[in-house]
């Protein structure tokens, strides 16, 4: 049943998000072409004596800026669409359909979490693809494609790998875990706020949800600061003085990673605990307190 729920939730989101992402890609390509044309024009000096071309260049530039703004705005739109879907299917009339399906409340929540997380990952990949397109084709004035940046980037990776090798495994794993946990954390936090908003108020659900969001963030902020006090003390005691002998790359890596890692692990731990708490609270409220209008 969970698979069927995910299928339908994913499909419902795709109805709006597929066109949105196609638009993001299209905007990127247009902006890239515009900037590529502009850089080539100014580089070759064609424009200096031509008023028409100059006007054209200004218009091009203007369109490119608009496109870039549109791309960033679309990221907010994606989050909005995901949370609006959740709100509609749980807190509005569609709730009568969702909550009478022969599934458990936790299956409903898992489905909403997994489908939203999948779309956020897709969104990240599309934005990364846009960045690659832009850097490759929009930043070179002499060649068709600018591969220099990527050569440097992969050069850096292979250098780091040669120097540190297996030392990089743990940080990479931790980083990936951190990403997954923080995506889940952010989704679950907003879900919980929307649910609390719906339970607290019949008329001003969204307003109550926004208020709850600020409230939860404040409490979480306080908890995190308190939890970090012992760690900060330890950090200041152990790392006040940098070692006097100059360090090589490996030593520097150990020094920095050793200082940061406890922070990293602590914040992953806190996030996981909060994710469980958000999920549990959402489940409890949906099952026991929600009264659809």
């Amino acid at each position: 049943m969970l698979a069927k729920l995910i299928k339908h939730d994913f499909r419902a989101l795709s109805k709006v998000l597929v066109p949105t992402h196609l638009a993001i890609l299209a905007a990127t390509i247009i902006a890239t072409i515009g900037i590529a044309v502009n850089t080539r024009n100014s580089w070759s000096g064609v424009l200096e004596n031509s008023y028409t071309l100059h006007v054209l260049e200004t218009i091009m530039m203007f369109i490119c800026v608009l496109m870039l703004i549109a791309i960033f705005a679309s990221l907010i739109l994606v989050a909005f669409i995901i949370f609006q879907r959740f709100y509609k299917s749980f807190m509005c009339d569609e709730g009568y359909l969702s909550f009478t399906l022969p599934v458990t409340t936790s299956q409903l929540l898992w489905s909403k979490l997994i489908s939203a997380a999948a779309w956020i990952v897709i969104n990240m990949l599309v934005v990364a693809l846009c960045a690659v397109i832009f850097v490759l084709f929009g930043t070179s004035s002499t060649q068709f494609a600018n591969t220099e940046f990527f050569r440097d980037f992969f050069g850096f990776i292979s250098q780091a790998n040669a120097m540190l090798g297996s030392k990089l495994v743990l940080p990479t794993i931790e980083f990936i875990v951190m990403m997954i946990v923080s995506v889940a954390y952010n989704i679950l936090e907003v879900y919980l706020c929307l649910i609390i908003g719906g339970v607290l108020s019949q008329k001003h659900k969204i307003l109550a949800a926004i208020g709850t969001y600020f409230g939860i963030n404040m409490v979480v902020g306080i908890i995190c600061s308190l939890a970090q006090i012992p760690m900060v003390t330890r950090l200041t005691n152990n790392y006040t003085y940098a070692p006097e002998t100059p360090m090589d790359g490996v030593e520097a890596f150990d020094f920095v990673f050793g200082a940061i890692n406890p922070y990293f692990l602590l914040s992953i731990g806190i996030s996981i605990v909060l994710c469980i708490a958000f999920f549990w609270a959402s489940h409890y409220l949906l099952k026991n307190k929600l009264n659809l209008e």
């Binding site: 049943m1 339908h8 509609k88 009339d93 009568y96 359909l97 009478t100 599934v103 299956q107 659809l292």
Partner: protein, 236 residues
């Protein structure tokens, strides 16, 4: 089938409060299988709350509600077919999407029957829910709900929004489509329209059951129709 047969829906000394406001008070009733039962009462008497409790949309403050002996959950929801008074289909869906949705989630859904009913009500399968009139949306939902072979049908104001011609069709649909062993609980104000379909009726007032009897006994013993009786009991 006798009245003492299997119990489909049972409320056991149930209280329901919204905050401090009592909506249902010490409600106890057991509804047998194989009957069409009218849930009748003035506005705000707790009809919808009673139905929502049986769907698992609300939890009782005290007491319990049982469907075929089980508390509401995924298992009971697979045998309960519920028609809310709201239009609950996502508006981006087409009628066909909604059919596929029900096929996916409800094993007891009879796809062929649903298609046939939609055709006779002249609802176009390709139309988006968004573009349908309120009455047509209600027809689609009723078709979806009545195309299931459920054990318990909970119909909250099923005929309120449709024209009298469609009303007759829908009542016939309910009569001819429901499973012989199933219980149908219909809440409505339109008693006169629905009277002839009912085997039994419940009068609900201020969250308590005033009367629960069979339609025949009312007619035979008191020589009254439910409609007349209702007007007497709930005289303003």
């Amino acid at each position: 089938m006798s009245l003492m047969s299997e119990i489909t829906l049972e409320y056991k000394s149930l209280d329901k409060y919204y905050g401090n406001r009592p909506v249902l008070h010490n409600l106890s009733v057991a509804l047998p299988a194989g009957k069409i039962i009218g849930l009748l009462g003035p506005n705000g008497s707790g009809k919808t709350t009673m139905i929502k409790l049986a769907c698992g949309l609300l939890t009782p403050t005290h007491g319990e509600v049982l469907i075929c002996g089980k508390k509401p959950g995924a298992e009971t929801k697979s045998v309960v077919s519920y028609l809310p008074e709201r239009t609950y289909l996502p508006d981006w869906m087409t009628v066909q999407d909604a059919l596929n949705y029900f096929v996916d989630f409800y094993q007891d859904f009879d796809y062929a029957r649903a298609v046939k009913m939609l055709e006779s009500l002249q609802v176009p399968a390709k139309a988006r829910i968004k573009t349908l009139s309120k009455g047509t949306k209600e027809k689609v939902q009723l078709v979806l709900v009545m195309s299931r072979q459920a054990k318990l049908y909970l119909l909250d104001e099923p005929i309120g929004g449709v024209d009298p011609a469609a009303r007759d069709y829908i009542l016939n649909t309910i009569l001819t489509n429901y499973n012989e062993d199933a219980t149908v609980l219909i809440s409505t104000h339109l008693i006169a329209d629905i009277e002839r379909t009912l085997d039994e009726f419940i009068f609900l007032q201020n969250g308590q059951i005033v009367s629960y009897a069979s339609t025949d006994s009312l007619r035979e013993d008191m020589g009254k129709s439910i409609d007349t009786y209702f007007r007497e009991v709930f005289r303003c």
